[in-house]
Structures are given as structure tokens and as C-alpha cells.
């Protein structure tokens, strides 16, 4: 794992997205759905869906979005997230193979919250976690099966995905407050 310290070494989000798409193709099977975690994961899932549909049109891949604010474990410390977005799961989760997508994997707490929420929709057949970057620092026994890049980011920094007006994805590096 390389270590990121300055903004000049930022990974290119768009090329990581292509890597992720290629890896995910092997995970496609009947009854698969792709679920992006708000907001970065949702942007990635939105762009992955047409690519994956093109490569395997026979699987009829459906897309959903999760905002796990109501399941977060820091609610008692930090209150409700100021910007919650409605989760949209327009398919029956029961028995589905879920490809769960997020931008950056860090502590694992967001993924725990997202999985808890997902199970309130039904019992999936399986969940596969895929991310653009695994930045290290997990605090729970949760780990992505697919990471387009393993890149250690120091604790005082935040690797943030953003989307520009042309729907292109970019990483920025921010100092934690």
C-alpha cells in the first residue's frame, strides 16, 4: 500500500471507475442489483450501471441508492445528519445478489449502517462490497471484496469524491477539522 500525503498524488477517479467496472463484470449473475451509498457511492453506481448492463444485458441489472443516516452509530454524539436523502430501493431485496458500492472505504461504519438498512428491506442472497479506494483504517470486521486502489491516507486527511457539472468524478484531499 502506498501512502498519500499531497494533493499532487491524487488518484484519477474516472480511471479507477473503469477498473472497478471490469472487476465487477465477473460478479454479475442472474438476480443481481447494484446499490450505491449516498452520495459518492451513488454517483459511481449510476455510472457503473449502464457499463455493466452493456456487458451482460441478459442479467437485467437494477439500481438503488441508500442513505444510511438513520442507521449511523454516531447519532447520539453528532445528531441526525443535516442532509439526509431518501433511500430508493425500487426492487425486492429478498433473495437478491447485491453489489454494494461506495467511494472510499475507511472505518467500515458506513457499510455497517448501510447493511443494517438493507436488511430492513429484505434478506439478500449475498452482498459484495466494491469501492474505488480502500484507504486503510478500518475499525470493524468489514472489508471490501473489490477495491480499485489500495491507498493509505493519513488520519488527519479526508479523501473526498466530488462530481462536476459534466458528471465527471474527481478526488480532492481535505484536512480534517
Amino acid at each position: 500500500m502506498t501512502t498519500l500525503l499531497n494533493p499532487q498524488q491524487l488518484p484519477d477517479a474516472e480511471s479507477l471507475l473503469s477498473i472497478l467496472a471490469n472487476e465487477l463484470i465477473t460478479y454479475l449473475k442472474p438476480n443481481t442489483a447494484i446499490v450505491g451509498i449516498h452520495s459518492g457511492g451513488a454517483w459511481i453506481a449510476e455510472q457503473l450501471t449502464p457499463l455493466l448492463r452493456q456487458s451482460s444485458p441478459e442479467h437485467d441489472l437494477t439500481l438503488g441508492v441508500l442513505d444510511s443516516s438513520f442507521y449511523r452509530d454516531d447519532y447520539n454524539q453528532r445528531g441526525l445528519h443535516a442532509e439526509t436523502r431518501p433511500s430508493q430501493i425500487p426492487f425486492d431485496v429478498e433473495g437478491k445478489h447485491i453489489l454494494l458500492i461506495d467511494d472510499v472505504f475507511y472505518t467500515g461504519r458506513t457499510i455497517r449502517a448501510a447493511m443494517n438498512e438493507l436488511f430492513d428491506y429484505g434478506r439478500p442472497a449475498s452482498i459484495t462490497l466494491a469501492v474505488l479506494v480502500n484507504r486503510g483504517g478500518r475499525e470493524l470486521p468489514i472489508c471490501p471484496q473489490i477495491a480499485a486502489l489500495e491507498l493509505e491516507v493519513p488520519q488527519h486527511q479526508k479523501l473526498q469524491l466530488s462530481r462536476d457539472g459534466n458528471n465527471r468524478l474527481h478526488f480532492t484531499l481535505e484536512e480534517n477539522a
Partner: protein
């Protein structure tokens, strides 16, 4: 300016009245409620936010619907819920409001939902409680019923998202209505440019114009080209006073019939906070008609109350 509803850093700690709340807080509540609408459509209609918390519905005045929706909202947030109808319990034995509250606090309650016939009761309790306890006003006298005002604007926003472009009319007994006051504050805070009140002079408060509304005494002019009609409940006890001649007379002048509804825009929606007096303030053909959103109001009321409870419970000093 000091606002007893807010924490030092401006977050909502109690919900006592909409008056004086910034637009950003109203929008946060409405946006959060939007997320809770979907929760009710899932296999498991619960989220774990208030797990381990105890919500006490203290109703010094009866209201089955409001209490039920608060109870469902708290239960869908995974809270434990205690319902107290105080007029039938300890107060009849002489206990004061604050003794009732202190006793419930000693039982480790985390949130009080308060309905009282006296204006200011919820403020009074909010001033008294320990800092970790949150208070929601579920209706106090003629003063305020903030969650009703919020669920009404939430319903309007769902059907008519362009709030800055709306003409809204409130019809009926504004004078005695805490609902009307909360609705007016919510609408004006959210930037609705034209809010009308339509009522006989005897059912309007003095200086009602100061709330930022236009006054009409006649349905024919008042309903013309409005997008939203918010009917108010005519309380039966007003009939016995000198304020109104009779229910029949009131229906003739201020009852919402299909003919009067036709004066509004063709796609206008009709709201009513319930319980309805059919044939007094509203005709059944309107209440059950295509333009009525009275039952969606009830459904959305749960999502809005879930939003309020989960925002408050997360904002402690």
C-alpha cells in the same frame, strides 16, 4: 435573539412554535421527513434512531389522532412510548403539571409530547425540564400546533413543489385556531408569496394582517385562482356563543362546496386538519373528491413527526 427552542449553536432542541424558526430549520425538517416517507413503504417500517429512548405523550386534552400519529412515529423510530391522558389520571387528584413532569423524568423519560388546553403549557414545561430532555408542543390552547403546520406545508410541498409561486387560502375559524397560526407562520417562513384568510369578522383575530396575510370575508373573491385551500375545523362550541348564527348559515357562507371549489385553480388541492364536520365547513363531495389531500395529510403527519423527533433527540447541549 434568545429562542428557547434552540441550543446555543442554533440547533432545534424543543419544538414549541414555528414562529421565529429560521427557514433552514423548517427545510431540514421537511427534507428529513421526505426520507421517512419511504421507511413506511418498506418490509420493516422501523429505523433504530431512538432505540433505548422513552417518549411520553402527555395529553392534558384529548386528541386521538394526534396522539396516535405521535405514538406511531415514536415507535417507528424504535422508541418506547408511554401515553398519559392526564385529565383522567393524577391531575384529577390535584397533582400539578410540573409534578407530573418531574415524576416522568424520574422514570427516565427522554422526550415529552405535550397537548394542553392552555396556551404556553409546552413552553412552561420546556423551561422546567432537565437539559437532556426534549419537548414537542402537540397543541397548546389557541397558540400553536407546530407539527400540524409542518405536516400541512409538507403535504403542500409534495403536491406543489414551487412554494415561492403559490397562492394559499385558509378558510374558517382563525380566531380560535392554533392550527391556523402555525400554518401561517410555516407558509410565510417558507416564502409563500400570497397567504389569504377567509372568515367572518367574528372569527378573525384583531390585527390578523400583521401575520402577513390578506383578509377576505367572502369565499367568492377569496378563493379566486388559489392553488391551495386549507380548511379549518369549526368547533361546535362556537355555535352556542354569539359568534355565529347557526351551522346551516355558516355552511351557506363558508362551507367548501364543489361550486366554491370551482373558483380556485382547476388543479387546486384541499387540506383539512381533521376531525371534519361534514356539512358544516366542508361538503362530503369535496372531502372525498379528487382534489382532497386530507388522507395523505394523515400519512405524511407520521413522517413529519418522525423527522421532528429524530432531529430533536440528536441535538443536545
Amino acid at each position: 435573539m434568545y429562542n428557547p427552542q434552540l441550543t446555543k449553536d442554533g440547533k432545534l432542541k424543543h419544538l414549541l412554535t414555528i414562529e421565529g424558526l429560521p427557514r433552514a430549520i423548517l427545510n431540514q425538517i421537511l427534507d428529513t421527513a421526505e426520507s421517512f416517507v419511504g421507511v413506511a413503504e418498506r418490509e420493516v417500517k422501523k429505523v433504530p434512531l431512538l432505540r433505548g429512548k422513552t417518549v411520553c405523550n402527555i395529553f392534558f386534552e384529548n386528541s386521538t389522532r394526534t396522539r396516535t400519529t405521535f405514538e406511531i412515529a415514536a415507535k417507528r423510530l424504535s422508541a418506547d412510548v408511554i401515553n398519559l391522558n392526564v385529565n383522567t389520571s393524577s391531575q384529577s387528584k390535584g397533582e400539578t403539571i410540573l409534578d407530573t413532569v418531574d415524576n416522568l423524568t424520574a422514570m427516565h423519560a427522554d422526550m415529552f409530547v405535550v397537548r394542553h388546553a392552555e396556551s404556553g403549557a409546552a413552553h412552561f414545561i420546556a423551561k422546567h425540564v432537565a437539559p437532556h430532555i426534549h419537548v414537542i408542543n402537540a397543541g397548546d390552547g389557541r397558540h400553536a400546533h407546530p407539527t400540524q403546520g409542518l405536516l400541512d406545508v409538507f403535504t403542500i410541498r409534495r403536491y406543489k413543489p414551487e412554494m415561492h409561486n403559490l397562492r394559499v387560502a385558509l378558510v374558517g375559524d382563525v380566531l380560535h385556531s392554533r392550527v391556523a397560526r402555525s400554518e401561517i407562520h410555516a407558509l410565510t417562513t417558507l416564502g409563500v408569496p400570497e397567504v389569504r384568510v377567509i372568515a367572518p369578522k367574528t372569527l378573525l383575530p384583531q390585527d390578523v394582517e400583521k401575520l402577513g396575510v390578506q383578509v377576505y370575508h367572502d369565499m367568492n373573491t377569496g378563493l379566486k385562482d388559489v392553488d391551495v385551500i386549507m380548511m379549518l375545523r369549526l368547533q361546535n362550541e362556537r355555535m352556542s356563543g354569539a359568534l355565529l348564527p347557526s351551522a346551516q348559515e355558516y355552511y351557506k357562507c363558508y362551507g367548501l362546496t364543489p361550486e366554491k371549489l370551482a373558483l380556485a385553480k382547476p388543479d387546486a388541492i384541499v387540506l383539512h386538519p381533521g376531525p371534519m364536520n361534514r356539512g358544516v365547513e366542508i361538503d362530503s363531495a369535496v372531502a372525498d373528491g379528487k382534489q382532497s389531500v386530507i388522507l395523505p395529510q394523515v400519512t405524511y403527519g407520521i413522517a413529519v413527526r418522525m423527522a421532528v423527533m429524530s432531529i430533536l433527540a440528536g441535538n443536545s447541549e
